[in-house]
Amino acid sequence: MHNWGVCTSCDHHFPVGPRERIAQLADGGEWTELWGELRASDPLRFTDLQPYVERVERAEASGMAEAIVTAELSLRGVPSVAAVMDFGFLGGSMGSVVGEKFARAAGRSAEKGRPLIVVTASGGARMQEGVIALMQMAKTVVAVENLREARAPLIVVLAHPTTGGVWASFASLGDFTYAEPGALIAFSGPRVIEQTTREKLPPDFGLAEAQLHNGQVDAVVDRRELPARIGHVLGILDRPRGFDPPPAIQWAHQSRERASRAAQALPGLPRRLADRLRPNSDRRAP
């Protein structure tokens, strides 16, 4: 996809399909799909404005298998597992297939001691699977516990939108959590909140930038920088193999001024926040 699905003029992040997304993350664009054979079932024989089975069939007919694609890949040289959601498949809703594929991906990560890279884009639980969809939230949290015990990193990238049961389960539990610019991140969406509480919401309600301010994500990261950023983190967490590599401390024999300026410019320094904070402010939620 042209420019990674980011507008060359205004940097708007357009939706990107899961396979393109994985190709963006994978070294050389090469990756292997896992568990592509899992398909939605219809345990409730559910019908709203149309039968669930027809919704699924139509979505599958367009070439998508389900709302999540799982894969093995190498990211900046680190063998990894990825689980990438697809908002195009029934709004990226989490039903049994999403829960099972996420759990299997986490299991593979735990078993092989490899990082799990997750990209979320979801309207929440798949309502057509009823309470069984709700249970997928708990199932994915079990999977996160498996990762923790195996000491496998969980990197979460929140794409637009990440809401409902996905945000209230594994998407909130990353070791490192990045959000794409402008992504809506919320448990209850703006419409539900306005209808329930008659609150007038601020224009940036729930957006990635506001959620950074709210302490809910580690950084807002441009899509084109994601592989480098994730690769950077994975490189840091990588255990030494065999014996310690030579120290090779990067002694910066530079002037104090240069060194200081360089330090200020380290990745992750939340410069943008500065504008939002009052001098000497004793901050609380806005």
Partner: protein, 322 residues
């Protein structure tokens, strides 16, 4: 089959549960019963089941959330921890309790109680009855999603026996946050659902007035949740419903709770944690289609797991239609 049976609980759990509440009117009736304003709420059960109770307050971070009642009590001569959604009965208390819709502070108070449960080896009983977590801008800014996720995580990590009881309506992640227990049980006239029928109506029918249709589609009754393997047991209510006789409702729940906690205490901490995780790991119904040009994949997923005697047919099963 005309009676919901469940292993050793069969004797007590023989109430007049229609096994086929798929009819829309029946489902709607249960929803009304589950929401009946005279139904016993957590403090009503505590009053009847515990000889003493001491509520804790505050998350030690920001506030106290009256929508979630958390405390320690004495149950059958042992100390237990209790967390429950408290809706409030009159207008003042409903407002005070925010209609049983917790803010993040509520779940964080609950996690604080879970720490006490771990320290003092207290069995944990959760009593679920909520239309959902509170949908407010402030709640979102203070991490409602993460609070629910971490509440589930905390329940998974607990070493102590845990039982979740749906005593009214259990809607959405706001309910499940307290539901990741060793045993999940529902009273006869209660519901457990991915969303309230009104919410489902607005989203799926794009019409706030189709709640009955949504209810008939979700079919979130105790009997159905039992059939789907989401509930481990259904506890009968007194004739007419729990609101007709709170004492009898508490007595019926007591029979189940006391026996189940005793049973769970026979396991080691590690066994309980492992089985709890396996229970939720198995949840889901899906198909596995043969990969292109390959053979059908059929190994391993179907049927019961040997490690858990409480396995459900609907858990981890490939759908027969696949």
């Amino acid at each position: 089959m005309s009676v919901v049976r469940r292993g050793r609980f069969t004797r007590k759990i023989t109430a007049k549960i229609s096994p086929d509440r798929s009819d829309g009117d029946d489902v709607w009736d249960v929803i009304q019963l589950a929401r009946h304003q005279d139904r016993p709420y957590p403090l009503d059960y505590v009053q009847r089941l515990m000889t003493d109770f001491e509520e804790i307050h505050g998350d030690r971070l920001l506030s106290d959330d009256p929508a979630l009642v958390c405390g320690v009590g004495r149950y059958h001569g042992r100390p237990v921890a209790v967390i429950g959604h408290q809706k409030g009965r009159d207008t003042n208390e409903r407002t005070f309790r925010n209609f049983g819709m917790p803010s993040p502070e509520g779940y964080r108070k609950g996690m604080r109680l879970m720490e006490l449960a771990a320290k003092f080896d207290l069995d944990l009983i959760t009593l679920i009855d909520t239309p959902g977590a509170y949908p407010g801008a402030g709640a979102e800014e203070r991490g409602q999603g993460g609070a629910i996720a971490r509440s589930m995580q905390a329940m998974l990590r607990l070493p102590v026996p845990t039982v979740a009881v749906v005593i009214g309506e259990g809607s959405s992640g706001g309910a499940l946050a307290l539901g990741v227990a060793d045993r999940v049980v529902m009273l006869e006239n209660t519901t457990y659902s991915v969303i309230s029928p009104e919410g489902g109506s607005a989203i799926l029918w794009r019409d706030a007035g189709r709640a009955r249709d949504a209810a008939a589609a979700f079919r979130p009754t105790a009997a159905n949740c039992y059939r789907w393997g989401v509930a481990d047991a259904v506890v009968p209510e007194p004739p007419g419903g729990a609101h007709e006789d709170a004492d009898e409702a508490a007595r019926l729940l007591d029979t189940y709770l006391d026996r189940t906690l005793s049973e769970l205490r026979r396991l080691t901490d590690a066994e309980r944690r492992t089985r709890r995780r396996e229970r939720f790991r198995r949840m889901g119904v899906y198909r596995e289609v043969p990969p292109e040009g390959g053979a059908a994949i059929a190994s391993g997923r179907a049927g019961r797991s040997a490690s858990s005697p409480n396995d459900h047919p609907a858990q981890g099963k490939r759908d027969p239609s696949s």
